[in-house]
Subunit: 161 residues, 2 copies
DNA sequence: TAATTAAGTCAATATGACTGACCTAAATAG
DNA sequence: CTATTTAGGTCAGTCATATTGACTTAATTA
C-alpha cells in the first residue's frame, strides 16, 4: 500500500518525505522555544508565562476570557501563572467598562521581558528567512496557516485584525 | 527603532509580520499534535508516549542512549513512559551485541498504534501541501530545517540516513 | 586492572495541565 | 424587576511530564 502510494505520488508527497516534515516540525519547534526557555528559567517562569506575556503584549487590554480563548487552557490553569505575573508586576490588571471583566496589560517591566523574549525568536526567524525569496516565505506562512484548524484560524485572525 | 526597521525592511521581514510567524508556529503546532492526543488519551498515554513510539518506529532497534539523544530528555523521564509501553506490549526490548545496550522495537500492537497516530498527521500534511507547488513545499521544508540548531540538524540527518 | 559506558533506580521537586464544585458580582433577557 | 447568563475567582484533588542528584550493576575498552 505504502509502496504503491510512493510510486504514484510525486517525491515530495510520499509518506517517507511527509514523515520528514513531521520530524522537521518537532525539531524546529523545540529549538524555537528553547531560547526564551533559558531566560524564563532564571525568573522561575515557564513556557506558560511566556505565552501569557506574548499575547497580553500583542493584545493590550485583553480580557481573561479572550486570553483563555487564545491559550485554550482552563481558567484554573491560567490563574496560577497569571497571578505570579501580576504579583511580580509584569502584568497589570484593570477593570473594564463592563465591570465584570478585567483588562490585562504589560507593565514597563513586562514590556521589557516581552521584548527580550520575542527578540530572540524574531531574530531567529529573520536570520533564517533572510535567505529565502518572498515567494518561499509567503508559501511557508500559508502552509502553516492551513495547518491550523478552522476555529483557531478565526482566533489567529482576531488577534491580527 | 521598530518603525525605522519597518520602513527599511521588505513587508515580509518587518517585525509585525515576523510576529505572525511566531503565532503561526504556535497555533499550527498545537493543532498538529491535537489529533494524536485524542487517541492517546483513550489509552491513558500522552505526547511523550507518542514521541517514543514514533522514533522507535522510525529507527528499529534503536538503543536507549540514541533514543535519549533524539528526545533530549533525561533517562529518568524516559524510564516511566517507556516502561509503560513495554509493559503494555507496544514495545519489545532485546539485548544488543554490546550486551550493555538494549534495542527497542515496535511489536505488531505497537506498529498498529504507530500507524494510527502517524496516519492522522501524514494525512493532515498531505491535505495541506497538496495545494502547493513543489517549489513552495521544498521551501517550507528548508525553512523548518534551517530553524533547527546545528547539533540537532545532525540528529535529524542521522535518523534519516 | 582501572576507567568508562549503558542502563536502571530511588527520591524529591517543579510545572503545567486537568476535573469538579462552588461563589460573587455585574449585565442582560423576559 | 426578577431570573438567567456571563466574567471571573477559588478550593481541592489529580495527573503527566519533566527535572536534579545520588547511587548501582554489568559490560566494554583503554
Amino acid at each position: 500500500m505504502t509502496d504503491l502510494n510512493s510510486l504514484l505520488s510525486p517525491f515530495f508527497l510520499n509518506d517517507k518525505e511527509i514523515r520528514k516534515v513531521i520530524e522537521l516540525l518537532f525539531f524546529s519547534y523545540r529549538d524555537f522555544t528553547s531560547g526564551p526557555d533559558k531566560i524564563l528559567e532564571k525568573l522561575n517562569f515557564g513556557r506558560a508565562h511566556h505565552r501569557i506575556i506574548y499575547f497580553v503584549g500583542k493584545k493590550n487590554n485583553i480580557t481573561i476570557k479572550d486570553l483563555l480563548l487564545v491559550l485554550q487552557i482552563t481558567k484554573q490553569s491560567l490563574s496560577r501563572v497569571l497571578n505570579q505575573l501580576v504579583n511580580e508586576k509584569f502584568i497589570i490588571v484593570s477593570t473594564g467598562i463592563d465591570k465584570r471583566t478585567k483588562k490585562l496589560s504589560l507593565t514597563e517591566k513586562g514590556k521589557k521581558l516581552e521584548n527580550q523574549l520575542s527578540t530572540i525568536q524574531i531574530d531567529k526567524i529573520k536570520r533564517v528567512i533572510n535567505k529565502y525569496s518572498e515567494e518561499n516565505i509567503n508559501g511557508f506562512k500559508e502552509i502553516l496557516y492551513d495547518m491550523i484548524e478552522t476555529d483557531n484560524k478565526k482566533i489567529f485572525q482576531q488577534i491580527n485584525d
